[in-house]
């Protein structure tokens, strides 16, 4: 009698747990299926949002076929607002937008076939290295021309592993005057003495130091290895 009642209890218990396992398996399968469809929807949304924030590029693509690349002088370039920003003929006087120091020429840039970096952005540093442009030194013809300053400064990165940074004056002073960094309105971005600027990567990401320009008018911070070029000494690997 007693033995058979134990058996009964055991059987009931096993049955219950089997049911439970089955239940678990079903819910897992269902939630898996759900998450798959969800990620699909997500990636689609991501694709849509990625396309959205690049209106300049879009118009570039849409407008590109209308430009005759063989005759750049006849082209009138529009800025992103649709106003004339300049003409393709270097001998014609520059437009009002150009005089005001404004005017973005997406089509003009696209038509030139300038080299791009791995993010599809124009690689202004390579343009300098390959001598592809010859910008005027200054809008003011009185200004004395000054060659770029050939001076690299080593900036040590805090921490034990990340490569140190070599800051190249030459590339910067091709494009920029000393005052832009060393005598900036509202306080210099950098004091021109090695190691006297308490920089940090966290600050740079928040738009200070190198982050005043990089990610805005110069190559983006995503490109870590373009700044972090000098390996730390073998002592800490």
């Amino acid at each position: 009698m007693k033995a058979s009642s134990t058996c009964k209890h055991l059987k009931v218990a096993l049955l219950f747990s089997l049911l439970l396992i089955f239940g678990f398996a079903v819910t897992v399968a269902v939630s898996d299926a759900e998450s798959v469809t969800k990620t699909k929807a997500k990636t689609m949304v991501a694709a849509a949002t990625q396309a959205a924030p690049a209106p300049a590029k879009k118009s570039e693509k849409a407008e590109a076929p209308k430009i005759d690349p063989t005759d750049t002088t006849s082209v009138i370039y529009l800025d992103t607002a649709g106003k004339p920003a300049g003409v393709g003929d270097p001998n014609k006087p520059p437009s009002m937008a150009y005089k005001a120091g404004r005017g973005w020429h997406p089509q003009a840039l696209a038509a030139q076939g300038l080299p791009k970096d791995r993010y599809g952005l124009i690689d202004w540093a390579r343009i300098v290295r390959e001598n592809l442009v010859k910008p005027r030194f200054s809008l003011n013809p009185e200004d004395d021309e000054m060659p770029p300053l050939k001076m690299d400064v080593l900036i040590t990165a805090k921490g034990d592993f990340v490569n140190d940074v070599i800051y190249p004056h030459e590339m910067h002073t091709f494009w920029l005057k000393c005052e832009i960094c060393h005598a900036t309105v509202g306080g210099p971005i950098f004091i021109p003495v090695k190691g006297s600027n308490d920089m940090s990567m966290v600050g740079i990401v928040q738009g200070q130091w190198c982050g005043r320009c990089h990610g805005k008018i110069a190559f983006p911070l995503t490109d870590c290895s373009r700044c972090h070029t000098s390996p730390k000494k073998a002592a800490s690997k």
């Binding site: 134990t6 678990f24 034990d160 990340v162 940090s200 990610g215």
Partner: protein, 116 residues
């Protein structure tokens, strides 16, 4: 007696099921390199394994990118920047996920820096 034994087996089975097949890994904390992180002004990394399980298959990460054992990977920011681990080419070094310069998305304790 017999009833109790039945209930015990039942309870054991109930506990065993989730702890084997369905154990959730949840969030993994990385702080091996805490000394280096302190110098850089960032805190430990909290890695949401559960979130990644939903968007990626196990074999996209294990064992190609990460060994599936806690503390066995020797991740560093240097290697992330060189395209390994978190910074693998299809991950936080691509448009598919947020970029590596968003320190605060991975590291805890990133403070706002005042100056200028």
């Amino acid at each position: 007696m017999r009833v109790k034994a039945g209930i015990l087996i039942f309870a054991l089975l109930l506990a065993a099921v989730p702890s084997t097949g369905l154990a959730a890994i949840g969030t993994i904390r990385f702080d091996d390199k805490i000394e280096s992180m302190k110098k850089a002004g960032v805190g430990p990394v909290m890695f949401p394994h559960d979130k990644h399980e939903k968007t990626n298959k196990c074999d996209e990460c294990h064992p190609k990118i990460f060994k599936d054992k806690r503390g066995e990977n020797n991740i560093s920011m240097k290697l992330n920047m060189e395209g390994k681990f978190c910074g693998s080419p299809n991950c936080h070094n691509s448009p598919k996920a947020f970029p590596l310069f968003q320190c605060a998305s991975c590291h805890t304790g990133v403070k706002a820096v005042k100056k200028n």
